[in-house]
């Protein structure tokens, strides 16, 4: 009854690269690159001079000026990633299926900068109400998905999921339900997080004691998702199948119910649902960020459930702590891992996530390379 999802194309924007090829290349490299100098990005002070931010990102370079001037950064990042995903898939999206194609995007709280700056205006302006009407939609969390629907003409199910580190897994679950229940045929699914003084300061202050934290990051990743058993006549092998998506709600680290044993149960459930033996897992992309108590949740759960020594990839060491985008960047890392390497075709990977609130999740994916081995799209 519940469909297995197939990913037929994807787009990514992160400090580790823009677009599938570049991102895959960075992750294949030996060491994460140093975070970028962000001191010139904003007028406001920043807690650190370096971050995994897209310093030169300009939405106009991707989408033009018309219609983009008033986008918040989250919306801009999301729209560019959606465009990449649509260009990367072999699914035709057009007039014929516009009502059957939708979007499910994950976020932490939309554009924090847009909301906070709007609030600031009401405090510092001579008159509280002298705010800019055109920026008001940016303060609403579904701005990115609404604008994506307008930009790419997607009239189907349109959802925004506020899930923080779990947002991408939740968005995939939402999409899987929409497709399984017949509400949609395909969705753009992903998550986005922007870098701003606002996110930088709050991310910094969440775990001030953790000296080994990865720098703050930002980015977006979007996947074109369809039912794996949909008619694929004349189309290529999908990039991946999402075999299982499981989530659970426990307590923050150190409290009960223990999130590590909760995540272990979630991973076991996911492997069972995927009908995959734990020993077959080749790669685990974790959400570890150098915060010891959170990292321990994932490490302990993995040690308890996946025997042997699968390769562990803590992708935030490449992308930074990109909050809601992180889960999507983790999945993108799995896809990148397969993109140009036919030797890994059919391999099984697991993605794990844990939030400071004790929300945990795991996905099981099986991936394939692009047929010609170059990793190029069609």
């Amino acid at each position: 009854m519940t469909a297995t999802l197939a990913i037929s194309g994807w787009g990514v924007l992160s400090a580790a690269g823009t677009g599938a090829q570049e991102f895959a290349g960075t992750l294949a490299g030996a060491a994460p690159s140093r975070a970028a100098d962000v001191t010139a990005m904003f007028e406001e002070p920043l807690p650190q001079d370096r971050a995994h931010a897209l310093v030169g990102f300009d939405v106009r370079a991707h989408l033009g000026r018309k219609g983009t001037s008033f986008f918040d950064r989250s919306t801009a990042l999301a729209l560019v990633a959606c465009g990449q995903a649509l260009a990367d898939t072999d699914l035709e999206v057009g007039e014929a299926n516009t009502g059957r194609v939708g979007i499910a995007l994950g976020t932490t709280t939309g554009s924090l900068k847009a909301s906070s700056d709007y609030s600031r205006e009401t405090l510092v302006n001579e008159k509280s109400y002298l705010v800019n009407p055109i920026l008001f939609p940016n303060t609403v969390m579904n701005c990115a998905s609404g604008q994506a629907a307008i930009w790419y003409k997607l009239k189907g199910v349109n959802a925004t999921i506020a899930g923080g580190p779990l947002a991408a897994l939740s968005a995939l679950r939402y999409a899987r339900n929409a497709i399984s229940r017949g509400y949609a045929d395909a969705l753009l699914v992903g998550a986005v997080e922007e870098f701003s003084p606002h996110t930088a300061w709050l991310t910094e202050q969440l775990y001030p004691e953790a000296a080994g934290r990865v720098p703050t990051g930002e980015g977006a990743a979007v996947f074109v998702v369809e039912a794996a058993d949909a008619d694929r006549a004349g189309r290529r092998q999908p990039d991946a199948e999402v075999l299982a998506l499981e989530v659970g709600e426990f307590a923050p680290p150190g409290e009960m119910p223990d999130p590590a044993s909760g995540l272990a149960a979630v991973i076991r459930r996911a492997l069972a649902a995927a009908d995959v033996n734990a020993a077959a897992v080749e790669l685990i992309v974790t959400g570890e960020s150098g915060v010891p108590e959170l990292d321990a949740v994932e490490r302990d759960a993995i040690a308890a459930t996946v025997p042997g020594a699968p390769r562990l990839l803590p992708v935030k060491h490449f992308t930074g702590e990109a909050r809601a985008a992180s889960g999507a960047l983790q999945i993108a890392a799995v896809l990148a891992h397969h993109r140009a390497d036919p030797a890994r075709d059919g391999a099984v990977s697991v993605v794990t996530a844990c939030s400071p609130d004790g929300s945990v999740g795991a996905a099981v994916l099986r991936g394939w390379s692009r047929g010609d081995g170059t990793g190029q799209s069609r």
């Binding site: 001037s69 001579e126 002298l130 009407p133 055109i134 939609p137």
Partner: protein
């Protein structure tokens, strides 16, 4: 207000409008209708009004919005509420 001062104001307003409509100032003509030439929507129309109110520290009732169809009309309404005579 002198002819020159008024023309300066017109250029200021032209820039405000151009910015909201995402076009170059020279693309905003005196009498070209925003709705026809620039595909203006209600949100952008209110944004134009809001920016003008803020810049010139005046209050323009929203009832005037339907009249603000082109640069010339906007300038006339602003002149009226700002007392530029």
């Amino acid at each position: 207000m002198s002819e020159n001062a008024m023309q300066t104001r017109v250029e200021e307003i032209r820039e405000i409008i151009a910015d909201v409509l995402e076009v170059e100032p020279e693309e905003v003509s005196e009498t070209g209708l925003f709705s026809e030439e620039h595909d203006v929507d209600s949100l952008r129309a209110i944004e134009i009004l809001a920016r003008i109110e803020k810049v010139y520290k005046i209050d323009i009732p929203q009832e005037e919005l339907p009249k603000m169809v082109c640069l010339k009309a906007v300038c006339e309404i602003v002149a009226e509420y700002a007392g530029w005579v």
